[in-house]
C-alpha cells in the first residue's frame, strides 16, 4: 500500500474534465485507489467521477491518495504525473 500527498495545481481545480481524465486513468489499474482531503473523514473512490467531484477540490487543495494492489507503483506514478501536468 502506498500513500502520498499531492496538490491540485491547475487553475480550475478538479472540475468535470479533469475528473473525467483522472477517472479514465485510474480505471485502467487493478489497484484500489482512494482519495481523501486531509482533515476530512470521508474517503472517495478514485474510480468514481461522482466521488472525485464531491471533493470539490479547487486549486491549491492538498489531497491524500492511497493506492493498494498489484500495480500500485505504476498507478501512483501515473496519478502523480497527471496532477503535475495539470490534467492535460
Amino acid at each position: 500500500m502506498l500513500t502520498r500527498e499531492i496538490e491540485v495545481r491547475n487553475p480550475l481545480g478538479l472540475h468535470a474534465r479533469a475528473a473525467a481524465r483522472l477517472v479514465d486513468l485510474t480505471s485502467g489499474f487493478r489497484s484500489r485507489i482512494v482519495f481523501a482531503r486531509p482533515g476530512r473523514n470521508e474517503q472517495v473512490d478514485g474510480k468514481s467521477i461522482l466521488g472525485i467531484l464531491m471533493m470539490a477540490a479547487s486549486r491549491g487543495t492538498r489531497l491524500r491518495v492511497r493506492v493498494d494492489g498489484p500495480d500500485e507503483e505504476q498507478a501512483l506514478a501515473a496519478i502523480e504525473a497527471m496532477f503535475a501536468g495539470d490534467f492535460k
Binding site: R21, E42, L50, L53
Partner: protein
C-alpha cells in the same frame, strides 16, 4: 461519497388549502426537466430480475446516445469539449449512480423509474449541501443524465402490468399544464406546492379532479424527498411529513368525520335530505340562474342532477392535444372524446373550448416562433389559426359529434374581430362538409378574457351566439400581473376597481345584446367572488364540480336585495386593504351568519 441519509423526523407545514379532502401518499418530487414517474412494488423475483434487465438496457441505450453525441462534438469542437460528454458517460456508469439505482431497485423492490428519481435526488442533495458554486452547476448535469435515462426507460416496454400502484402526492415548486399532461392521474392523490394561488393550474386541476391540494407552502420542495410519507389535508392546508403513528391515526379519524363537499351531506352542502330541486328555493332575482360545470374529461352529469346542472360550461380540450404528439392526433381522437361528451352530458349542453395553449407547448411552432413572452404570444385562437389543419380537424370533429344537437364551440383568447370572422369561415366550411348545408351547424361563442374585448363586444355580439367570461386571464391581463407570482399577487385582485369596472361593462354590454355570458374562470367557483358576479347580474356560472354544493348553497341563501346592498358597499371601496377587510369582516352585514361562516371557512380566513 458520504452516505446520504434522509431526515425522517416528522414535520408539519401550513399553507393554503385550495381543494378540500384528505390524502395519504408518497411524495413524488417533480423538478424542472424531469418527467413525472409512478411507483409500484414488485413481489415476484422473476419480475424483479426483468426490471433490472430493463434498467440495464436503458443504461446501454443512454450510453450509446451519449457516445454518438460525443463523436459529433469531437468532430466539431475538438477533444476538450467532447470530454464533458465523457464525464456524463462516466457519471452514468458510476457505481454511485447506476450502481446505487440498481441496488435500490433490488432492495426496495420497486420499478426502475422510481429508483432513478430517488437516487438522482439524493446525489443532487449531497452536492447541494457542499455549497460549492462549481458543483451547483454539476447538479444540472446529473439532472440531465437522469432525464435522458428516464426517457430511455419509458421507451422500453413495461415489464409487467402491476396490480398495485402506490398513491402519489405530487410535490413541486409549481405545477404547470404540460407536466400534468404527462401525468397518469389514476395514481395521483394530491398536490403540495411551494407557490401558487387560488386560480393557479394546481388549484384548478386539483378541484376538478376532486383531490386535495395545498399551496403556498414556501419551501416544501426542499423539506421532503421522493418516497417520504405525507398526510395532506386540503381543507385546513396542513401537510404532515413523515408523520408518527399517533398523527396518522388522528388523521384517519379526522378524514372519516369530514365528508367531501361533492357528496350529499358534506359541510358545505346543506341541502335537506330528500330535496332534489334546490333551484326551486332560490330568490326570484336568481330564477334565471344557470349552473354549468367545468371539465377536462367527459363527465357523467347524472351525479350532479340533484343540484340542477345545465351542462358543461367549459370543456378544456387541451387534454386531447397533450395526450399525443401533435402530428399523431387524428380527427378520430377528437371525435371519440366529443361523442362521449355529448352523450354523457345530454340533455345538458356542452361548450367545447378549442385549443387554449401557447406555442411553447408545440414542437412545430417552437422553432419558428421563439417566444420571449408566451403570455402575450402565439396562443389560443392565434395558435389554432396558425396550426390550421389541426384546428380544422377539431372543429370538424365537434360538428360530426353533434348528433344530439347539444354541442357548442367556444373560441379562446379572442382579441380582434378578424379572428372570429376567420373561425366563422372555417366553421361554415366544415359544417358544409358534414351536413351539406351552407351554414354553421352549431352555436359559436367567444371568450372574453382580453381587455380589448371591452371595446369589441358590440361588434362581436353580431357575429357570435354567446360569450364566455375567462376571468382568470381577464384579471391577469387587466392588471398585467401573473397570478402565479405570489409576492405581488393579492387574492382580492379580482375585486379591485379596475377589474370590477371591466366586469360591469361586459355584463351590461352582453345584456344589451341579449347574449348569454357564461362565467368560466375561477371567480365563479370562489366563495367570495361568486357573490360579486351574482351581484353584477351574471346569471350563468360554470364551476368546478367539487364546488357545486357550495355554490348551490350560496345561490339558494342569498337574495336580490342583499346582493344589491353588498355590491353598493363593495363598489365604494377603492383600495386592496379596504376590499380585503370587507370580505373578511363585513359579509355578515349582508348575508346570514351560517353562510358567511361557511364562506370564511372555505376561504380559510380563520387560519390566517
Amino acid at each position: 461519497m458520504p452516505a446520504i441519509s434522509s431526515d425522517m423526523t416528522m414535520k408539519t407545514l401550513k399553507g393554503y388549502g385550495v381543494s378540500p379532502g384528505f390524502s395519504v401518499g408518497q411524495v413524488l418530487k417533480v423538478e424542472q426537466g424531469l418527467p413525472p414517474v409512478y411507483k409500484f412494488r414488485i413481489a415476484d423475483d422473476a419480475v424483479l430480475e426483468r426490471e433490472l434487465l430493463r434498467f440495464d438496457e436503458a443504461i446501454a441505450r443512454t450510453t450509446e446516445e451519449l457516445r454518438s453525441f460525443q463523436h459529433k462534438l469531437e468532430e466539431k469542437l475538438g477533444r476538450d469539449h467532447s470530454l464533458m460528454i465523457q464525464a456524463h458517460i462516466m457519471i452514468l456508469q458510476d457505481h454511485h449512480f447506476s450502481g446505487a439505482i440498481r441496488d435500490y431497485i433490488r432492495a426496495e423492490r420497486v420499478n426502475a423509474e422510481w429508483a432513478v428519481t430517488v437516487i438522482n435526488e439524493r446525489i443532487r442533495e449531497a452536492y447541494r449541501k457542499l455549497q460549492d458554486p462549481y458543483l451547483q452547476d454539476k447538479i444540472f448535469d446529473i439532472q440531465d443524465i437522469a432525464a435522458r435515462l428516464l426517457n430511455n426507460i419509458a421507451g422500453w416496454q413495461e415489464n409487467h402490468a402491476p396490480e398495485h400502484y402506490e398513491n402519489i402526492i405530487l410535490v413541486s415548486s409549481e405545477v404547470n399544464l404540460s407536466l400534468l399532461g404527462l401525468m397518469d392521474f389514476s395514481h395521483l392523490k394530491g398536490f403540495a406546492v411551494d407557490s401558487g394561488g387560488w386560480t393557479s393550474h394546481t388549484s384548478i386541476i386539483a378541484r376538478s379532479l376532486e383531490i386535495p391540494a395545498v399551496i403556498h407552502l414556501k419551501n416544501i420542495t426542499s423539506l421532503v424527498h421522493t418516497g417520504d410519507l405525507v398526510l395532506l389535508d386540503g381543507s385546513s392546508g396542513t401537510v404532515h411529513i413523515n408523520p408518527d403513528a399517533a398523527t396518522v391515526a388522528r388523521f384517519h379519524q379526522q378524514a372519516r368525520s369530514v365528508i367531501s363537499p361533492a357528496t350529499e351531506s358534506g359541510p358545505y352542502c346543506l341541502l335537506p335530505e330528500g330535496e332534489t330541486e334546490p333551484v326551486a328555493k332560490v330568490d326570484k332575482a336568481l330564477r334565471d340562474l344557470r349552473i354549468y360545470l367545468n371539465s377536462e374529461m367527459p363527465l357523467e352529469l347524472g351525479n350532479y342532477q340533484r343540484f340542477g346542472v345545465s351542462g358543461i360550461g367549459l370543456f378544456r380540450s387541451e387534454f386531447v392535444f397533450l395526450r399525443k404528439s401533435t402530428e399523431k392526433i387524428t380527427l378520430a381522437d377528437h371525435l371519440e372524446v366529443y361523442q362521449q361528451l355529448a352523450e354523457a352530458a345530454y340533455p345538458g349542453t356542452v361548450n367545447i373550448r378549442t385549443l387554449d395553449l401557447g406555442a411553447d407547448k408545440f414542437p412545430e411552432t417552437q422553432g419558428r416562433h421563439p417566444e420571449i413572452n408566451p403570455a402575450l404570444g402565439l396562443r389560443g385562437i392565434r395558435l389554432s389559426l396558425e396550426l390550421r389543419d389541426l384546428f380544422r380537424d377539431q372543429l370538424k370533429a365537434i360538428v360530426m359529434a353533434n348528433t344530439r344537437n347539444n354541442l357548442q364551440v367556444t373560441i379562446p383568447f379572442v382579441s380582434s374581430l378578424d379572428e372570429i370572422l376567420a373561425v366563422k369561415v372555417l366553421l361554415r366550411d366544415v359544417s358544409r362538409e358534414v351536413t351539406g348545408r351552407d351554414e354553421s351547424a352549431l352555436p359559436l361563442g367567444a371568450m372574453l378574457e382580453i381587455p380589448s374585448t371591452f371595446f369589441l363586444v358590440d361588434l362581436l355580439a353580431r357575429e357570435v351566439d354567446f360569450f364566455a367570461l375567462g376571468s382568470n386571464d381577464l384579471v391577469q391581463y387587466i392588471l398585467a400581473r401573473d397570478r402565479n407570482n405570489m409576492p405581488h399577487w393579492s387574492p382580492f385582485d379580482s375585486a379591485q376597481p379596475g377589474v370590477r369596472g371591466g366586469l360591469e361593462l361586459l355584463r351590461r354590454k352582453t345584456a344589451e345584446h341579449k347574449k348569454e355570458i357564461i362565467c368560466c374562470g375561477e371567480m365563479a367557483s370562489h366563495p367570495f367572488f361568486v357573490l360579486m358576479l351574482l351581484a353584477l347580474g351574471y346569471r350563468s356560472l360554470s364551476i368546478n364540480p367539487a364546488m357545486l354544493p357550495l355554490i348551490r348553497y350560496i345561490t339558494r341563501t342569498v337574495d336580490g336585495k342583499s346582493l344589491r346592498r353588498f355590491y353598493q358597499q363593495l363598489s365604494a371601496l377603492h383600495t386592496l386593504p379596504e376590499i380585503e377587510d370587507f370580505f373578511l369582516h363585513r359579509l355578515g352585514d349582508y348575508f346570514p351568519e351560517p353562510l358567511v361562516k361557511t364562506l370564511l371557512h372555505v376561504y380559510r380566513a380563520e387560519m390566517d
